[in-house]
């Protein structure tokens, strides 16, 4: 990696810096300090690597003490030992020190960012003895389904719209290839590592995007750091969205670097008009070059469409927003992306696409409904409520920081306008659809790269400004305090937002085994009943069974159901139905935490169904109960 040195930082406190020397030699390395005793460690060097080493040692030593099997109301939060939290603080401190040399030694902030990713999201990957997060388990079931069939059946019309996975199968076919090539039994062998792997792959792409808009490596790495802390939204598990987002960012990176129209940069070509931290606009490209680039992007755009139904829409609105700037008005590329999306939607994705079009009339303009989180219900319980509040505060904090940068660093906002537009572009999708209660999280995710960049710009004052653009020492001093405080605050916000509801995500292997046995027992065409689909192996053998997750509805309806659950269910089952009711511990935690059932509701439901003559218990363990219903 060539070492461009736009803004080497002096000996000041992290977050502030001395004005940069002239940067005429981009690949120059700052001169060595005049003299030092041979063999004597330089304090600055020591402070750069020692925190990483200590943090790694603390993190590893904390692992055996993490009581994930006995999580209480606060999820993992109160099961993580002090040494774990100390390791996070040490990583933050080390990162801040490493920023001083971000221009000349980028591997240090890179190592700290990778270390943070591992420290934050690697715990379940290393420790858990089962699949983390029931939705990941569902995706595992989809991979198994594809591997068992060896073909795609987009028109099969499976229960619960599960055929959508055959209509946008790219992520699952890729994992099918990996499962076979790894020689693993299923994706369960590696799915807990998805957040770490996806995060590592995403990091250089983010870096590439940020470097296109800033030459200040401190700002760039701080943005990467903030992105990781603000990425609590949990879309990085083994799911099409994680891969789709990576591909989306890759397309964005290529566009901002290679699709600048000639003569469009205007004043931005003049260094005097740029923020001291801003990068010059990339060199313009001719029509033919951009056409070649579009061809290069076609496989990535096709893969985005093969992988996920929402990401192509996000990509198209992002490209459309970029067309609002003179710099990136590339209607041809937008047409290519739109054409590929339409072609996929009208062929492979036709069934769900047509169904969604049919429901648009109802959802269009329902802003409040479309921006709600989840199916229904309110977060209930100390941990989930804390997680909810932390999530909101995190969104507000990042938005406030980004907003401050837009006000305080208007020239940077001007030169990085494309990134701002790319972040804002997904917001109007609230008007269109609720995406199964997920739109809020998806819009946040797609807005995050730009928001993190501008949040970092608010915290890392520019260096090297002269004259009217000179940064006042007081601003630098404020930045020196604000940066570590804010990073620590975001870290404090990340933990409850990501791990506050962790009890819903960890499932003991014995519960998984119970569900698997129950579903294996069910004859073909039987109906699987459960309060929610959020439990492990819920969709095991999903192509041979029907499903009804009967509590995924508004609380009043569930309260009505709880008055006589056996009657409620039996009157709604078609004659001749053989149904299995699976009620597990994870469902109990989920329905209580998400507010689908009132306190004690799950227990009374289980009790009433087990006592009903219409249902009889097939199996009962400490992790749940399985009941069978035979239609009279």
């Amino acid at each position: 990696m060539p070492q461009h040195v736009p803004a080497p930082v002096g000996e000041s406190t992290a977050g502030s810096a001395q004005p940069a020397p002239p940067t005429g030699q981009p690949d120059a390395v700052p001169p060595e300090p005049a003299r030092r005793l041979p063999g004597a460690p330089r304090p600055r060097t020591l402070l750069t690597w020692l925190p990483l080493l200590l943090a790694a040692a603390l993190w590893i030593s904390s692992l055996p003490h993490i009581g994930f099997r006995s999580m209480g109301e606060y999820g993992l939060l109160d099961r993580l030992p002090v040494t774990y939290y100390l390791s996070l603080l040490l990583l933050t401190a080390g990162f801040l020190v490493s920023l001083r040399r971000a221009g000349t030694a980028p591997w240090w902030p890179a190592s700290y960012c990778a270390g943070l990713l591992m420290a934050l999201k690697g715990v379940p990957a290393v420790l858990y003895d089962s699949e983390r997060y029931p939705w990941a388990s569902k995706h595992d079931a989809v991979i198994d389904h594809l591997l068992a069939n060896g073909e795609l059946r987009p028109d099969e019309g499976l229960s619960g719209n599960m055929s959508a996975y055959d209509q946008w199968p790219g992520f699952f076919t890729l994992n099918g290839g990996l499962v076979r090539a790894f020689g693993a039994d299923s994706a369960a062998a590696y799915l807990n590592w998805a957040p770490v792997v996806l995060g590592l792959l995403m990091m250089p792409v983010l870096l590439l995007i940020y470097r296109t808009f800033s030459e200040d490596r401190r700002l760039v790495w701080t943005a990467v750091w903030i992105f990781q802390l603000a990425n609590w939204v949990g879309q990085d598990y083994l799911a099409p969205q994680g891969l789709g987002f990576l591909l989306h960012l890759a397309v964005l990176a290529v566009v901002v670097r290679h699709f600048v129209r000639p003569g469009s940069a205007g004043q931005l070509r003049s260094r005097a008009c740029l923020d001291p931290a801003a990068a010059a606009v990339p060199p313009p490209t001719g029509v033919r070059q951009r056409a070649v680039c579009a061809v290069v992007l076609v496989p990535v755009i096709v893969a985005v469409n093969a992988v996920h139904q929402l990401t192509p829409v996000m990509l198209c609105v992002t490209l459309l927003a970029l067309c609002l700037t003179r710099r990136y008005r590339n209607l041809g590329l937008l047409a290519v992306a739109g054409a590929i999306m339409l072609a996929w939607d009208l062929t492979m994705g036709r069934p769900l696409f047509m169904e969604t079009l049919g429901t648009l009339r109802d959802s269009l303009g329902e802003l409040t409904q479309n921006s709600r989180a989840g199916y229904a219900g309110q977060l209930t319980g100390a941990g989930p409520e804390l997680a909810g509040r932390a999530s909101i505060l995190m969104v507000l904090a990042v938005a406030a920081l980004a907003g401050a940068a837009l006000l305080l660093r208007r020239r940077l906002a001007h030169s990085a306008l494309p990134l701002l537009l790319a972040s804002v572009a997904p917001v109007p999708l609230f008007v269109v659809n609720d995406y199964g209660g997920e739109m809020l999280f998806r819009v946040y995710l797609f807005a995050l790269p730009g928001a993190a960049f501008f949040a970092a710009a608010a915290l890392v004052p520019a260096v090297g400004g002269t004259g009217a653009h000179r940064v006042r020492p007081s601003v630098r001093r404020a930045g020196a305090v604000a940066l570590p405080v804010t990073l620590a605050a975001l870290l404090a916000g990340f933990m409850p937002a990501y791990y506050g509801k962790e009890r819903m995500n960890y499932t003991p292997p014995a519960e998984t085994a119970l569900v698997t046995r129950a579903i294996d027992r069910a004859p073909e065409g039987a109906l699987i009943l459960a309060t929610t689909g959020s439990f492990p192996k819920a969709l095991h053998r999903y192509d041979r069974l029907e499903h009804w997750f009967f509590a995924e509805q508004e609380l009043p309806e569930n309260t009505e159901m709880l008055k006589d659950p056996a009657g409620y269910l039996s009157t709604r089952l078609p004659p001749g139905t053989t149904a299995y009711v699976i009620l597990t511990r994870t469902q109990d935690i989920y329905t209580a935490g998400e507010g689908l059932l009132p306190p004690g509701g799950f227990a009374s439901l289980t009790r009433d169904l087990a006592a009903s003559p219409l249902f009889h218990v097939v199996e009962r363990t400490g992790h749940g109960v399985v009941l069978r219903y035979d239609s009279p």
């Binding site: 990696m1 790894f182 870096l207 290529v254 290679h258 096709v302």
Partner: protein, 140 residues
């Protein structure tokens, strides 16, 4: 080494291209090992993530802009995974999917790509007129 003695392809580039060209076949050979062992899954994972992408993006000709190598490294995985998605989905569509077919297709593609010049990403190789003065030898 003087300019007129420089070989058509520097040894390092030949080595990298050869390694990339062989990477898929090494991953395929690793599948002969028992399932789930690190010696099996690690070369496969590295190859699927980076092999095809790096083979397509490397090497770029001409003087590189700052960040061009980072660009190749950053885009290698998305590009490679895109190809892997396309290959795997196509194999399912023609009902010819198997782990071997998946790896052989990607390995063949990678070998072919490693023999060709890198994809022409224009701003990666062009000198930015605003910042980088052209080398005297290149001025016309």
């Amino acid at each position: 080494m003087s300019e007129n003695r420089r070989p058509v392809l520097p040894a390092r580039q030949v080595l990298t291209r050869t390694a990339l060209g062989l990477s898929g076949w090494v991953a395929l050979a690793a599948t002969a090992l028992p399932g789930g062992t690190p010696l099996r899954w690690s070369p496969v994972l590295l190859f699927v993530c980076f092999g095809p992408g790096l083979a397509l993006l490397y090497p770029q000709s001409g003087p590189l802009r700052p960040g061009a190598r980072l660009e190749a490294a950053a885009l290698a995985a998305p590009l490679g995974l895109s190809l892997a998605v396309t290959v795997a989905t196509s194999l399912f569509l023609v009902e010819a999917f198997s782990g071997t077919a998946f790896l052989v297709s990607l390995a063949a593609l990678t070998t072919l790509a490693s023999a060709l010049p890198g994809l022409p990403l224009p701003a990666a190789t062009r000198g930015a007129v605003e910042r980088t003065p052209a080398a005297p030898a290149r001025r016309r």
